[in-house]
Assembly symmetry: C2
């Protein structure tokens, strides 16, 4: 067999960077091929379609991101953990020049727009899976905090609330381009969930 002339993971990274920077709609396979130094046909041969390539790049990124979130949630008081969680989330939206927005939400909203087509359903599932895993991480962190007396509510409900807030922040970031406001909203959320006193 003839071997590939490119590295699979390299292309996924290049593609995700493009998708993140310019959106799925705003990125053509010609763009990615040019950046990766190969022909469009090779991408089709290796990945099947633009959306399949996006999906692979997305899942690769999601795995890394999940690890980073886990790390952020893993040290200090419950308040410190949640603060680190929101900090990482917001920093992620604001990375790049200009800020690229939420890498996991933008793709879904773009692809999820035209549903029932097969691949879009796969994108939806990938996103739903990531959200479920993030929610589980936050829930476990809250449960552990509750066991130490740092939290008194329902961990599952609070985790869902927190994750919903991160998705809302992802949308508002696109609308307002106002990082201090995002941070204020996040701080307020932590206060609300933990009780303003800080316990």
């Amino acid at each position: 067999m003839r071997p590939r002339e490119f590295d699979h993971d390299d292309v996924l990274r290049i593609a995700f960077d493009q998708f993140w920077r310019n959106g799925v709609r705003g990125t053509s396979l010609s763009d990615i091929a040019r950046d990766a130094g190969l022909q469009r046909g090779s991408l089709y041969n290796a990945f099947g379609s633009k959306e399949a390539l996006f999906l692979e790049a997305y899942e690769r990124y999601a795995a890394d991101y999940l690890l980073a979130l886990q790390k952020a949630l893993g040290a200090g008081s419950l308040r410190k953990r949640l603060t680190a969680f929101f900090d990482l989330t917001i920093m992620n939206f604001r990375s790049g020049t200009p800020p690229r927005g939420c890498p996991t939400t933008r793709g879904l909203m773009e692809l999820g727009a035209a549903e029932g087509e097969g691949l879009d359903e796969d994108a939806r599932k990938a996103f739903a899976g990531l959200m479920a895993r993030i929610t589980a991480l936050v829930r476990d962190t809250l449960s552990a905090g509750a066991a130490r007396g740092e939290f008194g509510g329902d961990p599952a409900a609070a985790a869902l609330h927190i994750v919903t807030m991160t998705r809302g922040l992802a949308v508002l970031e696109r609308a307002f381009d106002d990082e201090p406001q995002l941070r204020k909203i996040a701080a307020h959320t932590i206060d609300l969930v933990l009780g303003k006193s800080g316990r």
Copy 2:
């Protein structure tokens, strides 16, 4: 002058319905022209471009939606008002078969993907304006509630929190297609903002 052969507002309604149902990306001007019974060229002549047409249709819808929200926020106890607000929001996401998602958020995320191009910036501004106006409505409702002793926190911060939650719900609706869960999250948010007792 030769008069138009179609009604401006009719076309905006037809277009917005298509955009809402199939997404901006998934709707071609041929689709809209077919539904409206005219030629593609007439749409370009009347509206300039696909995105300009979307924008006009969007703003027309947003004005109606804002009135509906205002009405929902206008009667009963503060808890009842907020409940009606979230109910309307969620019902909006879930309307249509299959549910069409949030009419105001989807378009932004699709168009906001490729930024710095002029018209996308207009879409961002339109969305930001709508969000600001909704936030103001909620803030005023909370302020009035505070004056009646139904709420004890910071109305501006709480309003921003609530609106952020609605955007998060708009995203999660696409991911999970689980209406009861959306309602649970909304109820939990109201409890958190007003204090679980209900005062």
